[in-house]
Symmetry: C2
Subunit: 350 residues, 2 copies
């Protein structure tokens, strides 16, 4: 899933260049590239599908030149994750009778890739057991702090006969909590961060859509014969606007019965904010995270991120964010970063 926009990383991310396409960590790889490479040793390249907005199709192909053009599924507009995943399901069904599927956002960070793939394999193994074949499996992240920016998954403590001990039943999904609630979740031990990564079989997810999103299923069923043909884009272009704007969490997971979760710990972050980025990159002796040609003087606990070709001198900053990309400059206090979107919007109105 690579259709997101988001101006929280402005000016690095913009509507024409959103977060999944930026190398915010300075690793030399964009998020989408890192996501692709995370799977490439275990998944044949022809089995990848990327769902994105039509305006990002070329960007996807630039970042993932291994893909054929028809592996990039284009949404004509934003309709949240349930229609996005439905589109991929129908394309997969058109090509193969059955499949094990992992659905993942393309703009998250994973630092322990070996552990990540071990968890993936544990999940796929479970999908191949009798109990797993219709299961909707999510990955829950063991919380390291009472984060209020994530949704939580409450797992059941009871072990279930016939399923691996690593796989837990989901008791409920919880929205982003306030700090007190988040603290309670972390102490309780049964609550996990909702990573937005899902594993299921084609058969399992199609059944779940049929049960919980019958109208969406009907809209896609109309084009059953069209997926994988040259008329697919035309069909999607007509049908997509009619789809309900709903997330897979609300539309399917919260309503489903056979939902499971693997608690995992592979250095995950959705890097939704500059602050979470700061937590995940190396710092110099003064606690600065620098990217690009940056000379810093008397500067501490700051992020300075400038595009290649730009030389920067920063002095006298503590706890600031300085970013330059594509003729846009941001200088602000890191603690006020949640207001970036508001400033960018105000700027647009000038």
């Amino acid at each position: 899933m690579a259709g997101g926009i988001g101006s929280r990383f402005w000016p690095l991310s913009k509507d024409d260049h959103p977060k999944q396409f930026i190398d915010v960590l300075g690793t030399g790889k964009s998020f989408i590239r890192a996501t692709f490479e995370r799977f490439i040793h275990d998944v044949p390249v022809e089995n990848f599908l990327v769902v994105t907005n039509v305006k990002y199709k070329q960007l996807v192909l630039e970042h993932l030149p291994e893909l054929r053009e028809d592996q990039v599924l284009c949404e004509p507009m934003r309709r949240n994750t349930a229609p996005c995943i439905a589109y991929a399901n129908y394309r997969i069904r058109a090509r193969r009778g059955q499949a094990s599927i992992v659905v993942t956002p393309a703009d998250h960070l994973v630092t322990n890739e070996a552990e990540f793939m071990r968890v993936m394999r544990t999940g796929f193994d479970f999908l191949e057991t009798p109990q797993g074949e219709d299961a909707l499996l999510t990955i829950g992240i063991k919380p390291s702090r009472p984060e209020t920016g994530y949704g939580y998954i409450q797992t059941d403590s009871n072990e279930e006969v016939g399923i691996p001990t690593e796989v837990k039943r989901v008791a409920s999904f919880k929205e982003k909590p306030d700090l007190q609630t988040a603290k309670r979740y972390v102490e309780d031990g049964h609550y996990l961060w909702n990573s937005g990564i899902f594993l299921w079989t084609l058969q399992g997810i199609l059944k779940a859509y049929q049960s919980h999103l019958p109208e969406l299923t009907r809209l896609f069923d109309e084009g059953k014969e069209i997926f994988g043909t040259s008329q697919e884009w035309q069909f999607i272009h007509r049908q997509f606007p009619r789809c309900e704007n709903i997330s897979i969490d609300y539309g399917v997971m919260e309503r489903a019965k056979l939902r499971y979760c693997i608690p995992a710990d592979f250095g995950w972050s959705d890097i939704g904010t500059w602050g979470s980025l700061y937590e995940h990159v190396p710092h110099d002796a003064n606690g600065n995270a620098l990217r690009g040609n940056v000379t810093r003087v008397q500067t501490s606990r700051s992020i300075v991120n400038v595009e290649d070709g730009v030389q920067a001198i920063v002095q006298g900053l503590d706890g600031y964010l300085v970013a330059f990309r594509d003729k846009s400059l941001l200088v602000c206090r890191m603690e006020d970063e949640q207001r970036i979107k508001e400033w960018v919007d105000a700027q647009g109105k000038k």
Copy 2:
């Protein structure tokens, strides 16, 4: 005189684009353009000469397209103001028997242009009197504060018979003083800031060079017949490196007898620092001086100066300087601006 370099306004000014060519005030005019336009109503366009480094010749012609190419006198290297002015003197002599000359830096600010030209006319009128014909006349600025960044001119209190009351004898030139001395100067009332603007006749300045810089005079005399011809650049290219590296102040003014000064008050600054720029530009309600497409939030007493085409958002700054030009970014505390040169040099060594 438009040969200066200077990195104190980095990144707006750089070696390839020094201060005289920048519109640091956001008026729409570079300093050299403003200097030219200050005189254009009183001086025929063919009478202007610009002395600059050979590498800035094209820049001068871009900023002053009214000039013919041969009105830009090129120095092959920096040799301070005495050789620079000598060059202009010899060119003028090759073209005309006599002349009244005003010599001015091309990178200073004057806010009251009418008063400036009134002072110029007072000076030229004096040069046409018997006492004025060999006089070396400088413009002294009535000090508004005990500035330690300028040299001072001490004037004589005695009025002299036969010269206008506005014109004073110079008692002595003073180097940049310490704060205590500067305060004494301001209280005394006879001390003026040395503006570096001079008026004299061709005859007067040539006599002064002969008396006080005989070796420099000999070097230029060798090419007497060559100035104004196609061999001039070749001659200058050979002779300039042999010239003493000396200012007009040390070389001529401090040694001369017939030196005069007009105390003036026309809103002058050499804008040698970001701080002095800040004093001379309009501020918003929070005391910010902004140039370019700048959105400011919770920002006060700061300069934000970005080139056209760049959009900037700054937040949470008090007393800072933010400048972006030509792929270079500076963010620093305004009070530390005297260290900019040091940082730029350190950056070059990285």
